[in-house]
C-alpha cells in the first residue's frame, strides 16, 4: 500500500469510445500492492504547464504490476495524455488513497456495484477482487448513451450480473442507474462511483434503508499525498473520532482528505 513515484512506458493506448481512452502502463512492484478504489496521480506533459498531476482510478492491475486506467479526454491534461503513443514515458505517483473495503468473507447476499459514466473503471478492479473471493456481484451502470458504454466486457469476464441503463435508452434500460439499483432484491452492500449527484442518490437510497454503502468521492487534487488539504470533503462526526491530523471541522462535522482518508468513504459519513 506504499506509494512510489516511478516513470514507466505506455505499453498501449486505445480509444475505446468517443473521447475515452484505455491506457496500459508498464509494470512497477508498487502497483502489486494496489487495492480496488485506489488511484494514481499521473504527471501529464513534460513542462510546468499543466502543473498538477491528474488523478485516475486504477481500473485493473496485471500480475506483473502493469496496470490500466480508463479516462475521458476532457481538458488540457487529458488531451495531452491522449496524444501520447505507446513507448512514451509517463511519471506515476501511486497507488494512493484508501480504497473499497472488501467483505470479510465470501457471502451470497447481493453485493451491488453502481457505476456512472467515467466513474465505472475502479469498479472493474473491485469486481475482479470480489470474483476472486468467489462473490458474483450485481453490477449496475449508467451512461448517457450507447456510445459511452464502457467496461462491459470486463464485468462479464468476472461473471458479474450486469445491467446497464442509458439516459436516452439507446442501450439497455431507459432511465437512471439508481432505478436499476432499486430493482435489485435486498442488496446487502453497495459500492458506488460516479458523478456527485448519482453518489448522493445512491447514498440516500442506502442510508434510508440502512444498507451498508461505500462511495468513491472526487475532488480536485494538488499533492494526492495528504499534505495540501486541497481535496477535503465534509463528513459527519458519528463517533468520537480518534484524533486525525486533519480532522478539524465544526459542530457535528469534520473535513477528511479525499486523497488519504478517501477517495472511498462510508456513505453514511459523507455530507453531500
Amino acid at each position: 500500500m506504499t506509494a512510489a513515484e516511478f516513470t514507466t512506458p505506455i505499453l498501449k493506448q486505445t480509444r475505446i469510445a468517443e473521447d475515452i481512452y484505455n491506457l496500459t502502463l508498464g509494470p512497477h512492484p508498487a502497483m502489486l500492492t494496489a487495492t480496488p478504489g485506489q488511484f494514481v496521480q499521473l504527471a501529464v506533459g513534460p513542462t510546468w504547464d499543466p502543473l498538477l498531476r491528474r488523478p485516475f482510478s486504477i481500473c485493473y492491475v496485471k500480475d506483473d504490476g502493469a496496470f490500466n486506467i480508463l479516462y475521458r479526454a476532457q481538458g488540457k491534461g487529458t488531451a495531452l495524455l491522449a496524444h501520447l503513443c505507446a513507448g512514451a514515458s509517463v511519471n506515476v505517483l501511486g497507488p494512493l488513497g484508501h480504497g473499497f473495503t472488501l467483505p470479510q468473507a465470501p457471502t451470497s447476499d447481493p453485493i451491488v456495484l453502481v457505476g456512472g459514466g467515467i466513474g465505472t473503471p475502479p469498479l472493474v478492479f473491485l469486481a475482479q477482487s470480489l470474483s476472486n473471493m468467489g462473490i458474483r456481484p450485481h453490477v449496475t451502470l449508467g451512461f448517457t448513451n450507447a456510445d459511452q458504454v464502457i467496461c462491459e466486457e470486463y464485468f462479464r469476464a468476472c461473471g458479474a450480473h450486469l445491467s446497464i441503463a442509458t439516459d436516452d435508452g439507446s442501450y439497455g434500460y431507459h432511465g437512471l442507474v439508481t432505478e436499476l439499483l432499486e430493482q435489485i432484491n435486498k442488496p446487502a452492500l453497495i459500492y458506488a462511483c460516479g458523478p456527485r449527484g448519482m453518489l448522493a442518490a445512491v447514498a440516500h437510497f442506502a442510508n434510508t434503508r440502512r444498507i451498508s454503502c461505500q462511495v468513491s468521492m472526487e475532488e480536485h487534487m494538488a499533492c494526492g499525498m495528504g499534505v495540501c488539504l486541497g481535496c477535503v470533503c465534509k463528513t459527519k462526526v458519528t463517533a468520537p473520532a480518534a484524533p486525525q491530523p486533519n480532522a478539524v471541522g465544526g459542530p457535528g462535522w469534520q473535513w477528511q482528505r479525499v486523497c488519504m482518508e478517501g477517495p472511498v468513504f462510508d456513505a453514511a459519513e459523507v455530507i453531500f
Binding site: 513515484e5 510546468w48 502543473l51 498538477l52 487534487m221 499525498m225 499534505v227 495540501c228
Partner: protein, 309 residues
C-alpha cells in the same frame, strides 16, 4: 578522515538565523504537511529543514471547497490555513519530527497579535524546534481583515510580540502583495527578525467560465508555482540590498538552476513548495544538484549567495 561524499556535503553546510543546517534546502510551509506524509516516499533526513504547515492557537477549519485551481505554470490555493492547532501539533506531530535530522521550523499563524504570541509561547516550551517562521499573510481580524503582511507597522508589531514570547530565532515570512517589499523587510528586521522568508503566495483569482462564478469558494487565493518565480527572485534581489539578515528564498523552485537563481540573487537558503506536489523528491534533487554544482565550481554555497549583484 573525510570521504569525498563528506567533502561534497560540507560545501553545503550553512547557517541561517543562527541555525546550523547540513544544507540550505528546505520544504516550504503548507506543502509538506508535518513531514510524515512524504517520509515513506523519500529519505527526508537529507533535507536541510522542514517548514511545517501553519500552526494556530486553536484548530482552524479553513475555507470551504473548492480550494485549489490550476493556472498556467501555477496554482491558486485558498486552503485558509486549516490546521488542528498548536496543542495537537506538539502532541502528535512534533515528537516524530524532532527525531528526524532536518531542522524543524514551525510556521506560526494567528488572527490577532496576541494569537501569534500565544502560539510562540506554547512552542517555546518544546524541544527540537529550530526557529519560528511567522506567517504574516493572515487576515488581521481586529483591523477588519487587512493582512498583517501588507502594513509595515502591523507586521513589526506581530514580529515584536513573537520575539518577546520565544527564545527561538524569529523568521517573518513576507507577503509579496506590496508596492515595496524592502519597506516590509526593514520593518520586520527592525522589530527583531533574525532572517526573512520570502515569498508567500501572490493574491490571484480565476473564474469558472461555465459556472460564471469565481473558481474558488473563497473567491481569491494565493498563486504559487513556477509562474511566480521571476517575481519572487526580484523580491529576493531587492531585499538582499535592503537588509543584512539572511533570506530564505522561495517561489516556483523546481530544479537546481532555479535554486541557484535565488541564491545568486541573495538567498542564503531556499525552500521548495508547489513543485513537491508534482515531484515529491524535488527538494532532494535540488540538494544533490547544489552539491554537484558547488563541487564542479569549486565553491561553497555561502560563496554563491548574492554573487549576481
Amino acid at each position: 578522515m573525510s570521504t569525498t561524499q563528506d567533502h561534497e556535503t560540507n560545501l553545503l553546510v550553512t547557517q541561517i538565523a543562527g541555525i546550523a543546517l547540513d544544507n540550505p534546502v528546505m520544504v516550504a510551509s503548507g506543502t509538506f504537511g508535518y513531514g510524515r506524509e512524504y517520509a515513506t516516499l523519500m529519505d527526508i533526513d537529507r533535507l536541510g529543514a522542514i517548514m511545517v504547515k501553519g500552526v494556530s492557537v486553536t484548530p482552524w477549519t479553513g475555507n470551504p471547497m473548492p480550494r485549489i485551481v490550476e493556472t498556467p505554470a501555477g496554482m491558486l490555493n485558498a486552503i485558509g490555513l486549516q490546521n488542528p492547532g498548536v496543542a495537537y501539533f506538539c502532541r502528535e506531530a512534533l515528537p516524530w519530527l524532532r527525531q528526524r535530522k532536518p531542522a524543524v521550523i514551525v510556521n506560526v499563524i494567528g488572527k490577532t497579535v496576541e494569537e501569534y504570541a500565544e502560539v510562540a509561547t506554547r512552542l517555546d516550551q518544546e524541544q527540537g524546534i529550530a526557529a519560528l517562521e511567522v506567517n504574516i499573510s493572515c487576515p488581521n481580524v481586529k483591523e477588519g481583515g487587512i493582512a498583517f503582511g501588507t502594513d509595515p507597522v502591523a507586521a513589526a508589531e506581530v514580529v515584536a510580540a513573537v520575539k518577546a514570547s520565544t527564545s527561538l530565532p524569529v523568521i517573518p515570512k513576507l507577503s509579496p502583495n506590496v508596492t515595496d517589499i524592502t519597506a516590509m523587510a526593514r520593518a520586520v528586521v527592525d522589530a527583531g527578525a533574525s532572517a526573512v522568508s520570502l515569498v508567500n503566495t501572490f493574491l490571484g483569482m480565476a473564474i469558472d467560465v461555465r459556472k460564471k462564478r469565481p473558481a474558488l469558494a473563497n473567491v481569491m487565493g494565493g498563486l504559487s508555482g513556477p509562474a511566480i518565480r521571476p517575481l519572487a527572485v526580484r523580491m529576493v534581489w531587492q531585499v538582499y540590498e535592503a537588509v543584512q539578515v539572511p533570506i530564505i528564498g522561495m517561489g516556483g523552485i523546481t530544479c537546481v538552476e532555479d535554486a541557484l537563481e535565488f541564491i545568486m540573487a541573495g538567498a542564503g537558503a531556499v525552500a521548495v513548495g508547489t513543485a513537491t506536489f508534482r515531484h515529491p523528491t524535488t527538494a532532494l534533487q535540488v540538494c544533490a544538484g547544489l552539491a554537484a554544482y558547488c563541487k564542479a565550481e569549486g565553491v561553497t554555497i555561502n560563496e554563491l549567495v548574492g554573487v549576481a549583484h
